[in-house]
Symmetry: C2
């Protein structure tokens, strides 16, 4: 009897219809405004049915997070396959990573826990400029004292800040509390490379 199979199939269809409605929501209004109630409304069912398919709201978001990592992995894999020299692969993968992040912004934000509502106006914060100027002035000085004083200091500032922020936030996502001293070697490695890239081109 195909009843059991049909039931499983229908369950699966229902599940994906929930995810589709949810994703529609995420795309149009961002993951912040995703709500179980709106999903229920979109699929024209009552609220509790959603809990027959997902333990809670977090489980739905987690589903997209997984999807995101899978998509990223696929992208990286296919880009990598187009080159043979490892350093070329790394470069191409870096660009692919960048493109993925901005072409699938919603995925990326979910994957890396980005985007507190309160902080979308971070650019307007005066205190930010204060911290920025300290870093920029130092980098400027470093460049002027190097063998390539024509280097774009603003570019180097962004690189510097990005390395720092990347190191910190990746570490913060992965671990609770302050990471051990060994982890700080990553910082040392990245910063050394950065400083070398300024001093000798």
């Amino acid at each position: 009897m195909g009843i059991a199979e049909r039931k499983i199939r229908q369950r699966e269809e229902f599940r994906t219809s929930i995810l589709e409605a949810a994703w529609q929501q995420v795309i149009s209004d961002g993951w912040q405004s995703l709500s179980i109630r709106k999903i229920a409304d979109a699929i024209e069912y009552s609220i509790p049915v959603i809990y027959n398919h997902f333990e809670n709201k977090e489980a739905i978001l987690l589903e997209f997070t997984k999807e995101g990592f899978q998509k990223l992995a696929d992208t990286l894999q296919s880009v990598k396959a187009q080159y043979t020299v490892p350093s070329e692969q790394l470069e191409a993968m870096a660009h692919a990573y960048w493109d993925f992040a901005f072409d699938h912004k919603e995925y990326y934000q979910l994957m890396f826990g980005l985007g507190i509502p309160a902080c979308d106006r971070v650019n307007e914060i005066e205190e930010l400029k204060c911290a920025t100027s300290i870093m920029i002035s130092t980098i400027k000085a470093a460049i002027e004292g190097s063998s390539h004083p024509e280097t774009d200091y603003f570019l180097k500032y962004h690189t510097y800040l990005s390395i720092l922020h990347g190191l910190v936030s990746i570490q913060m996502i992965q671990k609770e509390g302050k990471p051990d001293a060994a982890k700080k070697m990553i910082l040392q490695d990245a910063i050394s490379g950065f400083i070398i890239s300024i001093n000798r081109k």
Copy 2:
């Protein structure tokens, strides 16, 4: 008459008592669970009084964000002052940045919009390992083909990913939509530096 002065002073005290109660909340349960109602409960006043001092909840969080950037700026400034050579300053500031982030995790998360509740279990995601292994294998290959095959590939992987994530998330915080081609030069710069650091030590 000192009445006006006292009123201003009392207003200011009230304001800081709100912020203190809020911060207590943030420290003990994270900024996600900060609520106007709990603040009101903590200061033993009714809910609407808070709106006499802050436009909304976001304004309270923004206050801490500003505080965070100010603290970071102060830290960087004082660390910078301890050195004279720019490259040494940059290195010391990098370590200070790292320490600040983990010593004031709540501030840092607010400042850079980190921490979606759904994504604290990102490590358990199987799909993540898939993407990870692709990057690691490439870096491994690059290292093996370099003049320093003994280099720690795991360290280099973290550096690689951190640079990428840092670039992306900083860019995402600052701008809407996909950044222009000029911004991608930052990526090119950082990745070139990274690859050079692998090829010749």
